[in-house]
C-alpha cells in the first residue's frame, strides 16, 4: 500500500499537466489505436484520466495502467490535434517510467536496452552473426518488397513479413568516416539509426551518395549507439541514459555543422529528448546535448532547406505517394521537404493519398507487443496507398518503411517502399 502511495505521489507531479486536458475528446479523431479498438481507455483522453485517477488514488491497479499505457504508438497524433495543447507525450513518457519503475522492467527489455543497445560493439557483433544465420530460419515471402517470413519462429515473430538483416551493415560496408571539410565546405555528422545501419543499408548508402554528390563532408563513427527511443517508450529512462552517454562521447567534441539522420524517430529523439535526458548525466552533457540538438536535422529538410535541392515538375512519371511519418510531421513539422525531394527526381510523379498523415501503426515496440492491432492499423494505411494508384510508396522513417512492407507484402500488393532519399539518389 505504501508503495502505491509513493507511486501516486510521483504521478501527482504530473497533475498540472494532466489538468490541462479539458476532456473534449477531439483526440479520438486522430488516434490510430482508438481507430482500431474504439475503446476510450486507448485514446489520450482515457489514458490521461486513468493516470490522473491513479495520481489521486482513485485507481489502484498499476499493472493494468501499464497495460493501457502500452496500448499506444507514442505517435503524437493526439498532441498535435489537442485544442488546449496538453503535453501528452511528456505525460505518457513520464507515466511509463514511473509505472515501470514500480512494476519492474520486463527482463528481456532490460537486457536489450541496458546491455545490447548501449554497447554498439556487442550489438554489431550480434547482428553480424545474425545476418548469415537468418538464411536458415527465414524464407522469402515471394513479394515485391523483398521481405522474409519465418514459419519456424512463428511463436515469436508471428506472421511478420520483415526485411532481412543486411548481409553487411552500413558501417561494415563503408567503415568509419571522418572526412575533412575544406574551407566553405559543410560537414555533417551522419547518424544512420539502427534500422538504417542494419536493415535499410541501401537507404544509408543513398544518404552518403547524396551528401557526397553535394560535396558535404561526413563524420560517421562506427560505434554509434541507439538513439534511445525504444528504451524511453518502454519506460526505461536509465537505458536511454546509458545509450546517450555512448553517443555523446562520440559526438560531443567533434566539429560539424549539422547532424543529419534519415529517420524521423531518431531526429525527433535527438532534438527533443537528448537534452532532457542528458540532464540526468551532468551539466556538461546537457550543454553538449543541447548543442547537438540545435544542429540536428532530418535529411530531407537538410537537402531542401540547406542545400536548396529543387523539385522538377513531371506529370507523366512513375507514380509515388508519400506517407507522413508521425515523428517527422507531428514532432518536427517536416512535411513539404520530403515531397519536394521526391519530386527532385524527374522520373517520378507525386500523387497524394487520403489520410497521408495518419499513423501507419508501427510504433516501435508497439508492433512487437500488439502485432494484431498494428496490422489492423496498417491495413487502413495500405488501403489508402493502394487507392492512390501509386506503384511506389515513400516514407521518411525506416520504421514506417518496415510496417508498410509488412502490410503490402501480406496483401500481395505490387508496390515498392522507398525512402525519399533513395528516390532522389537514383537521379544522381
Amino acid at each position: 500500500m505504501e508503495d502505491l502511495q509513493a507511486l501516486a505521489k510521483r504521478l501527482m507531479a504530473l497533475d498540472d499537466k494532466l489538468t490541462d486536458c479539458m476532456r473534449c475528446g477531439m483526440c479520438q479523431a486522430v488516434c490510430p489505436m482508438f481507430g482500431a479498438s474504439g475503446m476510450e481507455a486507448d485514446v489520450a483522453r482515457g489514458k490521461l484520466a486513468l493516470i490522473g485517477n491513479m495520481a489521486h488514488e482513485l485507481f489502484r491497479d498499476p499493472e493494468s495502467l501499464g497495460d493501457k499505457l502500452g496500448r499506444c504508438l507514442l505517435c503524437g497524433s493526439c498532441q498535435a490535434a489537442c485544442p488546449p495543447g496538453v503535453k501528452i507525450m511528456e505525460i505518457f513518457r513520464e507515466a511509463r517510467e514511473v509505472v515501470h519503475s514500480y512494476l519492474g522492467l520486463h527482463p528481456a527489455k532490460k537486457l536489450i536496452f541496458r546491455q545490447l543497445l548501449a554497447r554498439p560493439k556487442l550489438f554489431n557483433a550480434a547482428m553480424s552473426i545474425g545476418a548469415p544465420l537468418q538464411k536458415l530460419v527465414f524464407r522469402s515471402s515471394q513479394d515485391s518488397q523483398g521481405t522474409v517470413c519465418s514459419p519456424m519462429l512463428n511463436f515469436m515473430l508471428g506472421d511478420r513479413h520483415i526485411r532481412p538483416l543486411a548481409s553487411q551493415s552500413l558501417h561494415a560496408k563503408v567503415g568509419a568516416l571522418d572526412e575533412r571539410a575544406s574551407v566553405g565546405q559543410l560537414k555533417v555528422a551522419f547518424y544512420p539509426g539502427c534500422l538504417g545501419d542494419k536493415m535499410y543499408t541501401n537507404m544509408g548508402l543513398a544518404c552518403i551518395k547524396a551528401l557526397h554528390y553535394h560535396k558535404v563532408a561526413i563524420y560517421m563513427p562506427s560505434s554509434l549507439a541507439c538513439c534511445g527511443i525504444p528504451a524511453v517508450s518502454s519506460g526505461d529512462g536509465q537505458g536511454m541514459v546509458n545509450q546517450l552517454k555512448v553517443n555523446l562521447n562520440l559526438l560531443a567534441d567533434k566539429s560539424f555543422d549539422y547532424l543529419v539522420t534519415p529517420c524521423g524517430s531518431c531526429t525527433s529523439t535527438i532534438k527533443e529528448l537528448w537534452p532532457e535526458y542528458a540532464e540526468r548525466i551532468d551539466a556538461p552533457s546537457k550543454r553538449a546535448a543541447e548543442e547537438i540538438s540545435k544542429k540536428t536535422m532530418d535529411i530531407n529538410a537538410f537537402l531542401i532547406d540547406v542545400l536548396h535541392v529543387e523539385p522538377k515538375a513531371n506529370k507523366e512519371g512513375v507514380k509515388v505517394t508519400y506517407h507522413d511519418s508521425c515523428h517527422l510531421k507531428k514532432s518536427l513539422g517536416v512535411t513539404e521537404q520530403p515531397r519536394k525531394l521526391i519530386q527532385a527526381n524527374g522520373k517520378y510523379t507525386l500523387v497524394e493519398m487520403k489520410e497521408a498523415d495518419r499513423c501507419c501503426g508501427c510504433g516501435g515496440s508497439f508492433n512487437l507487443f500488439h502485432y494484431d492491432y498494428s496490422r489492423n492499423i496498417g491495413q487502413r494505411k495500405r488501403d489508402n496507398v493502394v487507392a492512390s494508384g501509386a506503384s511506389v510508396v515513400s516514407a521518411g522513417c525506416p520504421a514506417c518503411m518496415m510496417q508498410l512492407e509488412d502490410v503490402l507484402s501480406h496483401n500481395n500488393d505490387n508496390i515498392q517502399v522507398k525512402h525519399p532519399i533513395e528516390i532522389y539518389a537514383e537521379s544522381l
Partner: protein
C-alpha cells in the same frame, strides 16, 4: 452492481471483445466533456448490430438496470455521465455504417455511431451537402447530434440537426422497435415521434437508425472579416445584414478579450483594440453571391466597421478564419479549466448580453472570453479558471447562474446547442414553467415505467 451471470450473458450475446468490465475500462466511461464529477458505471457494452442494440436495451430493462447511451462522449452537459454506479453504458461506436446515400432522392440512411465529419465527407464525395457542422464534428456521432440537436457555424442559413432529420428508428425503454418518419419529403403517418426524439438526450429511446436530408451544395461562396471599435456597432451590422435580406451561411464574432488572447498566442497581428470582429461568409449561386457580398460590404461600412478585409483566395480566407478556429484552443490554454457555455439570446440582444457577461465577470472576478454565432444570437462565453481552486470555481458557478438569469430576462435560452443533461437541469423551470417539467416527467414515466433511460438527465424521471 451487475451480476457475473449478466456479464456472461452479454459476453455470449456480443462477444467478449464488446463487453468491458475491468476497473480501468469502467473508469474511462465515467466522464464526458462537461466539467462535472465523474460516475463509474458497472458495465460497458458495445453492440455491433442494431438487432443486438435492441437486445441489450431489453435485457437491461428486464433486469431493472439503468442505462446511458454514449456516442463520442463529447456533449458538454453531462448527458453521458452514468446516473448511478449500477448504470450500464451502451456504446454506439460499433454501429458506424452509412447504409445508403441516395443522390436521386437526396437522403441518407445511417447507423447512430457514424461520425459526423466522415458522413459529411462521404456525402460531399457524392456531390451533395449535409450542413450541420458542430465544432466537434471530427469525432461526434450522428446519434449524439440528434439526441442533442447539435448546431454549428451554419445554423443561421442552413438550420441545425433537427432540420435534417427525416425519420428515425429507435428502441423504446423496453427494447421494442419504433419507426417514425420516412424517406419521403412528406410523411404524416402517425405522431412525429422523430421530432420527439430530437434533443431527447437519451431519455426517451435509443436511436438505432436515422434518415437524414441532403441538399445540393452551394456553387460559390465569398468570405469577409470586419473590425469594429465596439460591440454595439457589430451587432447593428448583423441586424443590418439581415434587414438587407442577406442570409450569410456564417456570421461569427469574437470579443475583445478573445481577440487579445488569440493575438498573444498567434502573433498574427489581429486588431487588439477592436471591440469585436465579425467573420462573414455568403454562399449560393455565383451571381447571387456577388450581389450579397456587395450588400454585406455596404452594411458593414454603414455601421462603422473600421476595416473590412476580403480574402482573395482560399489560402487568405484560411488565414483570416484562423482567429475563429483558434478562439477555443487559445482560451483553453490560458487556465487549467475551461467552462464552455452557450447561452443564446435574440440577435438584437447580443450587445446587452455581452455587456452583462462582462459586468458579471468583473463582479465575480472571473475571466471570460466570448465568441460565437452572431447570426443566431448564440454566444459561447468561455470561463477560464482552475477547478481545483474551490473558492474560484464557486465564483465561476455563481457568475454562470447570474448569466443565465440575464439570458432568460432577455428572452433568450439557457442552451442554444449544448443541451441540459444534469449540468443545467436546475434552471429548466425558470426558463419554461412548472407545467413543462411535470408534462415532461409524465411523458417519461409513461414511456419508461421503470425509469431506466438516463434517469437523472434533462428533467429527471
Amino acid at each position: 452492481m451487475v451480476s457475473q451471470g449478466l456479464i456472461s450473458d452479454f459476453e455470449r450475446m456480443l462477444g467478449k471483445e464488446n463487453v468491458f468490465s475491468s476497473e480501468a475500462d469502467l473508469q474511462s466511461y465515467s466522464y464526458d466533456s462537461a466539467v462535472l464529477e465523474p460516475v463509474i458505471p458497472s458495465l460497458v457494452v458495445r453492440p455491433t448490430t442494431t438487432e443486438k442494440l435492441g437486445e441489450c436495451v431489453k435485457k437491461l430493462y428486464d433486469n431493472g438496470i439503468p442505462m446511458t447511451v454514449r456516442g463520442a462522449g463529447t456533449n458538454l452537459s453531462g448527458g453521458t455521465i452514468p446516473d448511478r454506479s449500477e448504470t450500464v453504458v451502451i456504446l454506439t461506436n460499433g454501429l458506424n455504417h452509412i447504409l445508403e446515400i441516395n443522390s436521386n432522392d437526396l437522403y441518407a440512411v445511417v447507423e447512430p455511431g457514424v461520425i459526423t465529419a466522415q458522413f459529411a465527407q462521404a456525402v460531399a464525395e457524392k456531390k451533395l451537402f449535409y450542413p450541420p457542422d458542430p465544432g466537434s464534428q471530427a469525432v461526434s456521432t450522428i446519434g449524439g447530434n440528434i439526441a442533442e440537436n447539435a448546431g454549428g457555424l451554419r445554423g443561421l442559413k442552413y438550420g441545425v440537426t433537427k432540420d435534417y432529420v427525416m425519420g428515425v428508428e429507435f428502441f423504446d425503454a423496453t427494447g421494442e422497435i419504433v419507426k417514425t418518419g420516412s424517406r419521403t419529403v412528406k410523411c404524416v403517418t402517425g405522431y412525429n415521434l422523430a421530432g420527439m426524439l430530437i434533443q431527447s438526450e437519451g431519455t426517451l429511446g435509443v436511436i438505432s437508425k436515422a434518415i437524414l436530408k441532403l441538399i445540393p451544395p452551394p456553387k460559390a461562396s465569398r468570405a469577409m472579416m470586419a473590425v469594429f471599435d465596439d460591440m454595439q456597432n457589430a451587432a447593428e451590422a448583423v441586424a443590418g445584414i439581415i434587414a438587407a435580406h442577406v442570409l450569410p451561411c456564417t456570421l461569427e464574432f469574437l470579443d475583445n478579450n478573445t481577440i487579445v488572447r488569440v493575438d498573444d498566442f498567434t502573433h498574427s497581428g489581429l486588431p487588439r483594440e477592436a471591440g469585436a470582429i465579425l467573420l462573414i461568409e455568403v454562399d449560393g449561386h455565383p451571381a447571387q453571391v456577388e450581389d450579397d457580398a456587395l450588400a454585406v460590404e455596404r452594411v458593414l461600412k454603414e455601421n462603422k466597421a473600421s476595416a473590412v478585409h476580403i480574402p482573395k483566395d482560399a489560402a487568405e480566407k484560411f488565414k483570416l478564419w484562423e482567429a475563429r478556429r483558434m478562439a477555443l484552443p487559445v482560451l483553453a490554454r490560458c487556465r487549467p479549466t475551461t467552462v464552455l457555455e452557450d447561452a443564446t439570446v435574440p440577435r438584437s440582444q447580443i450587445p446587452a448580453m455581452m455587456k452583462a457577461v462582462n459586468e458579471i465577470a468583473a463582479k465575480y472576478k472571473v475571466e471570460v472570453g466570448t465568441f460565437g454565432h452572431a447570426g443566431d444570437g448564440n454566444l459561447h462565453p468561455t470561463f477560464l479558471c482552475d477547478k481545483r481552486n474551490k473558492e474560484e470555481f464557486h465564483r465561476v458557478e455563481m457568475a454562470i447562474d447570474e448569466m443565465f438569469d440575464v439570458a432568460i430576462k432577455l428572452q433568450g435560452t439557457l442552451s442554444g446547442e449544448h443541451g441540459i443533461g444534469t449540468a443545467k437541469s436546475k434552471w429548466m423551470e425558470k426558463e419554461t414553467s412548472r407545467g413543462t417539467i411535470l408534462f415532461s416527467q409524465r411523458l417519461r414515466r409513461a414511456l419508461d415505467p421503470k425509469g431506466l433511460l438516463n434517469p437523472t438527465k434533462l428533467v429527471g424521471i
